[in-house]
C-alpha cells in the first residue's frame, strides 16, 4: 500500500490530489505503467515523463528508483517556486 500524491497540473489532469494504491510495482516506472493502464486520465498525465518529477517519501528521485519501503510517492511538474 503506497500513498500516491499529485501536484499542480498532474493533480488537475488526474482529478484527485492523492490516493492509496495497492501495488506490487518494484520501481516508480513500474508504478507509472500500472497507473497508465488504469484509465485515460492517468495515461495522459504520464504521457511525457520528461515533463514530470517524482519524490519518494519527500525526497526527489528518479523514475528508475526502487519502491522498497516507500510509503509516499509524489508526481509533479518541475518546480517553479522562488
Amino acid at each position: 500500500m503506497i500513498e500516491v500524491m499529485y501536484f499542480a497540473w498532474v493533480r488537475e489532469r488526474i482529478g484527485i490530489p492523492r490516493e492509496t494504491v495497492e501495488t506490487n510495482a518494484k520501481t516508480v516506472a513500474e508504478l507509472v505503467e500500472e497507473l497508465r493502464a488504469r484509465e485515460e486520465r492517468y495515461d495522459v498525465a504520464f504521457s511525457d515523463l520528461s515533463a514530470l518529477r517524482v519524490a519518494i517519501d519527500q525526497d526527489l528521485t528518479e523514475f528508475s528508483a526502487s519502491l522498497e519501503g516507500a510509503r509516499e510517492v509524489a508526481f509533479f511538474p518541475p518546480m517553479t517556486g522562488g
Binding site: A8, A55, Q58, F76, P77, P78, T80, G81, G82
Partner: protein, 147 residues
Amino acid sequence: MDIRVQGSPFDAGAELNAFTNKAQGAGAIVSFSGIVRDTAAGDLEKMVIEHYPGMTERAITTIAEEAQGRWNLADVLVIHRFGELSANDPIMMVATASRHRKAAFEAAEFLMDFLKSRAPFWKKEITGKDAVWVESKDHDEDALKRW
C-alpha cells in the same frame, strides 16, 4: 536558521531588520525578495502557489544546511508563501548574514538557485481569460550547475 512556509503575508523590511539585529557581528547582510509580477497584459487576477506540505520544509532545510556548510554564515532566513497572492505581493525572501560580503552574496544566490528548482512550489497565474501553470525555465535548471 529560520525557515518559514506560510500562507500569510510578510513584511520584507521588518524581516530584514529583525534578521540584521539577530545576526549582530556579521557585518554583511544580503537579502533577496521575489515579488509577484503582473502579466504582460496587466490582467493578473491572482497568483496561486501550490506546495507539497512536509516536503517543502524538508527541501528548504536541506538547501539551507548545504549553504551553511559551504559558507561561513552567521544566519540564514527563508520565507516562502503559498496560497493566493496578488500582483506586487512579496512571494518569498531569503537573507544571509556573514562577516564577508562575498560569502553573503554567494550563499543568497545559491539558496535562490536551489529554491527555484528543488523546493516543491508551483505557480499558477489566473487572469480574466485563463489559468496557466507557470513553466519552469531551462536556465533555472542550468543555474544549478554553477554550484
